[in-house]
Amino acid sequence: MPPFLIALYGNLLNGAILGAVYGMMTMGLSLIFGVLRIVNVGHGAFIMVGAYTAFFLFTLYGIPPLLAVPFSFIIGMGLGALFFYTVIKRLIDSPELTTLLATFSFGVLLEEVAKLLWGPDYRGFNWEVGSLHLPFVTIPLEKLYAFLASVSMALILYIWFKKGRSGMAIRAIMEDREGASCCGINVDGMYGLSFSIGIALTVASGSLLTLFIPVGIHPYMGGIYTLKAFVIAVLGGLSSPWGAFFGGFIFGLVENGAYSLFGLVPGLEPFSMTYFAAFLILLILLLIRPEGLLGANGG
């Protein structure tokens, strides 16, 4: 194979793996938007919490990051419920301005508490599990595990949504709020539940993310993930967790594939250009297909 194609193939494979984690990272955001119509601008801070959880479980107790995921999920449920019942509950149906600011402030609060507790240092750990050697490319196994974990989390959520009682109720709310409230669904309770689950997914994804960033764990690490999650969420239609998951996939592929293409143009920094391309795609999509690449809104 010519070197360009080898590189492209490697990049796409890598993009798919990264994409699954991106997708997982965004599902919570989409769930919350889909149900409560609130954009969680503090998204990244919750990812940070998950990353720290994995870090401490690994370095203090030797618990591998994959097993940290359920722990983070529970912590996320708690945080989500706390945030929901103290603040968000009172802001449902307020103008965007208020909810954007509220979620942002909560994110800042989390960051500052993290800084107070754990200091501003960069931390990280290395989970040595070897590599998988494929023709032309080598994939570290921990990334492959993160990929599998993301896919299974998405599947579990999917099943719960389709079969679980509360999952179905949440789906009903996403489709028609007024309608759902008159059919005996406890809308407020479901808001709380979906908000908590949204946050929990985000925190859990933060734990998986640590497998990709050897020392990127610090209180302010979240910002960039918030922005990426926005783009991915829009790819998937903003209010659909499944859309978001596949949006992550597509994003990972585009980001890595575009690198190879931009690299051919002299004078450009292909890396920055892929980010630029991502935002360009975001704008175009918002204009021509606000319902996302995969079509239908909702669940």
Partner: protein, 410 residues
């Protein structure tokens, strides 16, 4: 209108931390929160330790036959430029500070410079490495940290000394003002030394996957890698080089390998990585070997500094930000003593003549621009899980291992 009156009165009666009087005030805005909180913390503790040494150990600044204590005054700038200008003015006008310590980063240093210049207060850059700050024609801005353009040059020297045949160099660095200045500085130097740049790419800040760019780089078969930017990206670079089997003879990465966390997370894969540093625990600058260099040695021993730093910080290891923070204050003290007065212009003139050695290494500025020219970068390399100083030869705690693959413990 009540609110307005209330606000103004709050502003006017703000608690003033500094008390005037006998002490010489040295201080500045420092980033205790925001994106530079980490570097800010190091610098902050460095300043506190310096204050302690000057007052308690040294006995105060010698002016004529008096000994005057110093007092460190600071405010948190949240790593934001708007805060820098107002805090610098406050420090000068309200607190009466004439000897300023610029905030961390080249950008914030630039933000405060016009205010310092306006009031004629000295403005010491301990975290603004960009050479361009000193091409702007400021009079009161002087530098303690070494200029960014010099960071990677000693790597070239070292490689040339060990392996004159090495020619193929890859540059892979973070797309930021700082790392670009570093890379521009080394590019000319590489040509001078007859090296060939076979690959040159920047990656954006906050990158979390370097696979595409490393794959591309690998295909160009570089022998030497110069790169990096800050903490997270440098670590990622080192980790993914291992993952993808990118093999070079020497890899020098900015910032990340200077941190203990580098080896802690990478384990044996850390061994062999090199980083330029301003200072490192174990650097051998002391009273004996500094004789004959300018005014000779000044300040506490390295051991004292490390001990006090740990005490002050509750157990943190000092990094070079802390060391050059301390050196900044020592330079002020020495310059004031040399001038025999606290008159700013005379102290500034004295700085042109000042040449001394703190534990941080030589201090001497270019009289024309205020840029630090005395300080030399050292190189550290991880060997068997330990951070060794491998260059320059006179400061070595271990010999460099080259090529990387031969490194003990790798």
């Amino acid at each position: 209108m009540k609110i307005r009156v209330l606000l103004l009165s709050i502003l006017l009666i703000l608690p003033s931390i500094a008390t005037a009087g006998e002490a010489i005030l040295i201080g500045g805005p420092i980033s205790l929160s925001g994106k530079y909180a980490k570097e800010g913390e190091q610098g902050f503790i460095g300043f506190k330790v310096a204050e302690k040494w000057v007052n308690e150990v040294y006995g105060g600044v010698r002016i004529g036959n008096r000994r005057v204590p110093i007092r460190y005054v600071y405010y948190d700038d949240e790593s934001k430029k708007e805060n820098v200008t107002s805090l610098v003015e406050r420090l000068i006008k309200v607190d009466g500070v004439r000897f300023l310590l610029a905030p961390y980063s080249s950008g914030l240093t630039l933000a405060g410079a016009p205010v310092a210049e306006k009031y004629g207060a000295l403005y010491m850059s301990h975290g603004g490495a960009s050479d361009r700050i000193f091409e702007q024609g400021f009079r009161y801005v002087v530098q303690t940290i070494g200029p960014a353009s010099s960071y990677q040059r000693s790597v070239v020297d070292m490689v040339k000394a060990i392996d004159p045949s090495a020619r193929r160099v890859a540059l892979l660095f973070e797309d930021s003002e700082f790392s670009r200045t570093v890379m521009m500085g080394v590019k000319g130097y590489l040509k001078e030394k007859g090296m060939k740049i076979v690959f040159e790419r920047a990656y954006p800040r906050n990158v979390k996957d370097l696979t595409p760019v490393l794959t591309e780089m690998k295909a160009r078969r570089p022998e030497i890698l110069l790169g990096g930017g800050h903490f997270a990206d440098g670590q990622l670079l080192a980790k993914q080089m291992g993952d993808l089997g990118v093999d070079v003879k020497a890899a020098s990465i900015l910032v990340a390998p200077t941190l203990p966390a580098f080896a802690k997370t990478l384990g044996k894969e850390a061994n062999g990585f090199i980083a330029p540093a301003h200072w490192e625990k174990g650097v051998r600058f002391n009273r004996e070997n500094s004789k004959g260099i300018g005014l000779g040695y000044f300040g506490p021993s390295q051991e004292w500094f490390i001990r006090e730093f740990k005490k002050e910080s509750g157990g943190l290891e000092p990094e070079y930000h802390a060391a050059n923070a301390m050196a900044s204050i020592l330079a002020y003290v020495k310059a004031i003593e040399l001038a025999g007065t606290t008159d700013v212009d005379r102290v500034r003139d004295a700085m042109d003549r000042l040449h001394f050695v703190p534990f941080y290494g030589e201090w001497k500025i270019d009289p024309e621009t205020g840029k630090q020219v005395g300080h030399k970068m050292i190189l550290i390399q991880w060997q068997k899980g330990r951070k060794e100083i491998v260059w320059p030869e006179e400061a070595q705690t271990a010999r460099p291992c080259y090529p990387m693959a031969s490194c003990p413990g790798r």
